[in-house]
Subunit: 410 residues, 2 copies
């Protein structure tokens, strides 16, 4: 099945919004299969058209022809993490040397939490987090606590009640800015300020933030942050993640995973570890050149984008989607779980449905790809770089058709 | 400059050895630039010709066209680590479910050491290692010790004296089987047995072993091992590393870095961590699909190779190289630091030279690419998959030309 819809049915005001879209030219930069309406860029961003040629160049020329010489020279793989960090820094409100790019998001959560627990005031033994935080953040905290002898408590509270639990027991506040299920966006600057007022260090997981809307870590006085390269940043499956360490912490934050590539002088091959300046110390192993190169290339999509424009379009798209879905909710058991207040959401919209798994399976068959998230969530990622208001219309038409048919017994 | 040599000067006995080379057909599988004689495959293996097409397919078809659906379905990225593990397991004498592929070698040393320290008999506080172990192994031990409160001692002794230091203070023996500078190969089965007799757990770094000669971890009763994907395994720059955990330890070894991809049920999104069966629990973050795919493709080079043939050819090549270099050592200050006894070396040959850095720079200009390693080591990686005995002759002719000219004052 396909997602084609008679264009004449699209409401004029939506076509008008698209005609005035400042980012409309970005869509052509992505490969978007014609038989798919892709609402899952918050799980795996689509292919930026620059990436295949970049990968071919890295494989055939940099690796194949130049071999080991590419660690220096033109390719300069050695500093690829820094070059990617510089592009990322602009998107998250950081200085380039506050950002270490490499390893998975999971490993970066580990690095951040190990450092933050060390910097926290002595005697504080609580890691405060959202009970519905993304599992890997919870598991990392559990694993690290066990490694450290089990003296910490992972305290899990509803994300709406986090501020009430900031007290003198809490060492670190570990939160994901945008809830991966509901799409609720927490108030990063406000919670950071409240945490600091209580003597608590913060770690923000920006998996569903960076690339979706402007983030200003330095402006918020954030301590640590981590994020994912393959969602709104479109870096490809399993792209390198990243770690942000505020400049004021860099020289005090211990490097739990200390490796040769984070050493002050890599090829000195010294027996004693001595950290490199800046966040590079948090790149312990050999940089993942293939993954970093794809991410580096994909990040160029943001080079000519004003993040304020991105956010404005994202809110217009998600508002449009929610308004159209409201009509379906009148006749189907759909419960909106994403806040309608703009400042309280990211760039996804989610609904509960009693047969969410089955509905998403049928949507996917029809070429409308979103995500099912246990137990009953339909999740739709909306991406201002390549979605149009007309896409919102087509998506809701398709969702309606699937739901209408699903509720006719077969 | 080039490395072309008049073929008529190559000694007949070397051409004869090449004529009988069981692995001669493998050379054509690699891109080896014609103006280069590459003796650095122990630092970065060359490009296996299957890789560019594989990367293009992953990017354009699996990612570009199939998008998120490739985590399941035909591409089945979710189990890519296991498929690579199965290919690797054969090369290192392991069962597939004892091998976790992903993350850097450095991060895998961290995982192994964290697990081994937990399993070691209580009260033992020494991590015994080779004073000249590869820096990242030393740095990881330093960083982990600091993270754990500094209660361990990293005891560094000459690798020839390791056995003398195995006593009831030692928790873990952390060794690299083949010294990255000298090429000395330690006796893995013997040292493992001696360690066990002293109640000591072992971690073997196989960076310069796997793919260079047969390794039999299960046969040796090894506990943990780690290795690198981009040296003799030719997985590409920054390829994923791997971790071996002996089956008998799997269910007792704690997972220090516990993440969602190592959970027993990834998409259950449970709040409590529960490890996946087998070594998959040690793959915490989202698999690095691009790097894993390149490594997966490159590992096919070993599919039709008997590891005994690989070792026999490797020893014949390194013996040839050493014999030819002996003639140069008579008139140049070259000191062989690689053991001449076959069982005591891997697949590299190294020499001290007072101007090693300058000599290697001039060799590289001439297209003979090896490595300089501080302070005074010339390192030549020799790779039975794609080197010939004639290559050894050409290499030594080129080295001789460079040394002869270098010692004529200019």
């Amino acid at each position: 099945m396909t997602v084609t819809t008679d264009a004449t049915t699209i409401p004029a005001h939506l076509l008008d919004l698209d005609a005035r879209d400042l980012l409309a030219h970005k869509r052509a930069e992505f490969l978007l299969p014609p038989d798919v309406l892709y609402l899952d860029g918050n799980s795996l961003g689509p292919l930026h058209r620059s990436v295949p040629a970049r990968l071919a160049g890295v494989a055939e020329r940099e690796w194949g022809q130049q071999l080991i010489r590419s660690w220096m020279g033109d390719a300069d793989w050695m500093h690829l993490p820094e070059r990617v960090a510089a592009k990322l820094a602009r998107l998250i409100g950081a200085q380039p040397d506050e950002v270490a790019v490499g390893d998975s998001t999971t490993v970066n959560v580990f690095k951040a939490l190990a450092a933050a627990l060390h910097l926290a005031p002595q005697g504080r033994r609580v890691i405060l987090t959202d009970a519905d935080n993304f599992p890997t953040d919870l598991y990392v905290a559990q694993g690290l606590n066990a490694l450290l002898g089990g003296g910490y408590e992972l305290r899990r509270v509803p994300n709406t009640e986090v501020a009430d639990h900031l007290n003198a027991d809490v060492a670190v506040l570990l939160l994901t800015e945008v809830d991966y299920r509901t799409g609720r966006r927490l108030d990063l600057p406000d919670l950071t300020a409240r945490a600091h007022a209580a003597g608590v260090l913060t770690i923000w997981d920006l998996a569903h933030s960076a690339g979706a809307f402007p983030v200003d870590l330095d402006g918020a006085g954030a301590d640590f942050a981590v994020g994912c390269g393959y969602k709104f940043l479109n870096g490809g499956p399993g792209a390198p993640g990243y770690l942000y360490v505020a400049a004021r912490h860099l020289d005090r934050a211990p490097v739990a995973i200390s490796g040769w590539m984070g050493h002050a002088d890599v090829f000195e091959m010294a027996r004693e570890y001595s950290p490199a300046p800046g966040a590079r110390r948090f790149v312990p192993g050999t940089p993942q050149v293939l993954g970093l190169s794809a991410l580096d290339s994909a990040l160029d999509a943001f080079a000519d984008v004003e993040m304020a424009d991105l956010r404005a379009k994202s809110l217009s798209l998600t508002s449009t989607f929610m308004a159209l879905m409201e009509l379906l909710a009148a006749r189907h058991p759909l419960e909106l779980v994403t806040p309608t207040e703009p400042e309280q959401r990211g760039s996804q919209v989610s609904y509960r449905h009693p047969d969410a798994r089955g509905v998403m399976a049928r949507l996917t068959e029809r070429g409308i790809i979103g995500d099912f998230r246990t137990p009953d969530i339909l999740r739709f990622g909306i991406t201002p770089l390549y979605h149009s208001h007309a896409d919102m219309w087509r998506a809701v038409q398709g969702i309606g058709a699937v739901l209408d048919r699903a509720e006719t017994p077969v």
